[in-house]
Amino acid sequence: MSSTLHRETLETAAFRAGYLSLLAIMLLPLLVVVVTSFSGTGRLAFPPESFSIAWYGEFLDSVRWLDAFTNSIIVGVGTALLATVLGVTGAFGQELEDDDGLLGTLLAPLVLVPLLIPPVILGITLLMYFNEFGLRGSYASIVLAHTLWATPLVYFVMRSVFSRFDWQQLDAAQDLGAGPVQSFVHVVFPNVKHGIFVGGLLAFIISLQEFVMALFLSTPGTQTIPVIAWTEIRQALDPVVSVVSTILVVISVVAIVAAVIATNLEWLSRQLS
């Protein structure tokens, strides 16, 4: 009995150790990036010979970097809004459909397609496509490209959120005189708003870190942070790249923490009820 128990704890410990070391190996590069951003010299080396926050000052003084930062935020917010609207309405519409019609059956695999096409190919194709409409280099073109990627993720998050929603509440709302829009606003939305928030954040993060399509579709005026970082690294490896990466990592971590808190708040309120 005690020996089995002993073996089980040993196995658990081994599993945990393995898991943690895997996590550490994956997260170490991030640590390197963060540490090098505080480098005191102009070389991107690890470990740095000395520490300073000079490169943060450099970043804040650089018009190019700040413009790219603004571009990333514009594209990210645009993507988050568009992908959320599409993903939420798509998932909602599919839930409303009584019997799985042709559209419903086709929608789920169809929505996945953009995720399966290599981004290089998507980027080139979209570049040619948007040229036809005179959209080349516009924010809209990058937002649309990122939305292709972000929408499926929002869609699947919302499918799972809606599957936990008590649809009888929608019946009750309509039964009491609420039309389609009113019942969504007053009854469905308050129940799934945390899920929508998480979906939107996810779309924002996807857009923030996407590089390949942004490289093809942007012009100097609309270059996002990953695109600038790429061109900078090719010219000279300086710690501003690390600074920018650190800021991106921090934004992503903050967004994920916000998402976790939002979902857990919902979970917590369910547990308490």
């Binding site: 309509q174 005189g177 009820s273």
Partner: protein
């Protein structure tokens, strides 16, 4: 207050027919119970009245107006759902006021009305509560108040009491009855519980396999069921297979699987031919069961005819087992190898025991007979 008419209502899901050819006039201000086993189509019928399901064919009118093509939110009906479907993110008061808000009633007025409705269902003072913190009975009351607050043409109740425990359910039945008398609105109540239907209903509509078989007052459907299904569904009974052996103007003589020839008195000209197969229904409440002091008296199996012309039927058998059920004691009796059961009130201390010879008697008038297709025979 309003009348609802369902004409030839039908609902199909793919190849399955959930509701078939349902026609009924629901009277102004009545409480109609749709009663049937699960899957009988009663909830689907209710949801079609609410507008939550679209009928495949047929027509629904409320106060003469055809509402078949109107959406749920365009109809002035309101439903109390089985799980109550209260909005968890709104307070109790906001729940009750929701329908009024959708009707653009000014805030102050809807608050007053909602508070009055909560008062009516004895939930006054609970307005600020979170509905998720309420007990089942309390949720039930709030759901009722929410539905009544909009002053619906008809209140639809979809098994709202089935999730409550027995005691609370019985209290709520009586309260629902009182509320119905008080608000003078038309109620349609769906249930699978016979006792609930008998307690609540002005009229009962019995459904089975998508069809509405019979609509009538509780005594009418109980005493004069349209078919064998209803007789079996409305309460425990003994079904006894038999064959008509002699038909006269005032009686049908049947040979039964009990091994006895029984006499069913007729009001005249019974609608039975000799040789017809009949299923008899002997309800436990019409049977009396006594120790058989003179088993020999049944020799020859001749049934006695009483002086006033009525017939008394009797069979003799052996008690197989005794089931004590609190208020009643049920005896399973083997009559020439066929089992039947009879009951005594628990207060009857003259207990019978297994293995004892007993005599079961009943008046011939209390027996119903059904044809093989299930329809009732007019005797």
């Amino acid at each position: 207050m309003s009348e609802i008419t369902l004409s030839e209502l039908e609902k199909q899901y793919g190849d399955t027919t959930a509701v078939e050819d349902v026609s009924v006039d629901i009277r102004d201000g009545e409480l109609l119970c749709l009663l049937g086993p699960s899957g009988s189509g009663k909830s689907t019928t209710l949801r079609m009245i609410a507008g939550l399901e679209e009928p495949t064919s047929g027509e629904i009118t409320i106060n003469g107006e055809d509402v078949t093509d109107q959406s749920a939110y365009e109809r002035n009906t309101s439903t109390v759902f089985q799980d109550w479907a209260l909005f968890p993110h709104k307070s109790v008061l906001e729940n009750v006021a929701f329908g009024l808000k959708m009707r653009d009633v000014p805030k102050e007025q809807r608050r007053e009305r909602a508070e009055a409705m909560l008062e009516r269902v004895q939930m006054g003072g609970y307005g600020d509560e979170d509905p998720t913190n309420l007990s089942g009975g309390q949720k039930q009351r709030v759901a009722l108040a929410r539905s009544l607050a909009v002053n619906p043409d008809v209140l639809l109740l979809d098994e709202p009491l089935s999730n409550l425990d027995k005691r609370l359910r019985e209290d709520m039945q009586i309260e629902l009855r009182e509320i119905h008398e008080d608000v003078e609105e038309t109620f349609v109540h769906v249930t699978h519980d016979q006792d609930e239907a008998f307690t609540l209903a002005d009229r009962i509509g019995i459904m089975n396999e998508g069809e509405l078989i019979q609509v009538g007052e509780p005594t009418e459907v109980y005493e004069n069921p349209a078919n064998r299904f209803i007789e079996g569904f409305l309460g425990d009974t003994n079904f006894v297979e038999s064959e008509a052996v002699r038909v006269t103007d005032d009686a049908v003589h049947v040979e039964t699987e009990l091994g006895y020839e029984l006499v069913l008195p007729s009001d005249g000209d019974p609608d039975v031919t000799e040789g017809a197969e009949l299923t008899l229904s002997l309800r436990p409440e019409v049977l009396s069961i006594e120790q058989d002091a003179a088993a020999d008296s049944m020799e020859g199996h001749e049934q006695p005819v009483l002086a006033d012309g009525s017939t008394l039927n009797a069979v003799v058998g052996t008690v197989e087992n005794v089931l004590y059920r609190g208020s009643t004691v049920r005896y399973s009796v083997s009559v020439n190898g066929t089992s039947m059961f009879a009951e005594r009130t628990g207060a009857n201390t003259d207990a019978l025991t297994a293995g004892e010879e007993v005599r079961i008697e009943w008046e011939g008038d209390d027996v119903l007979a059904f044809r093989p297709d299930g329809s009732q025979v007019t005797l």
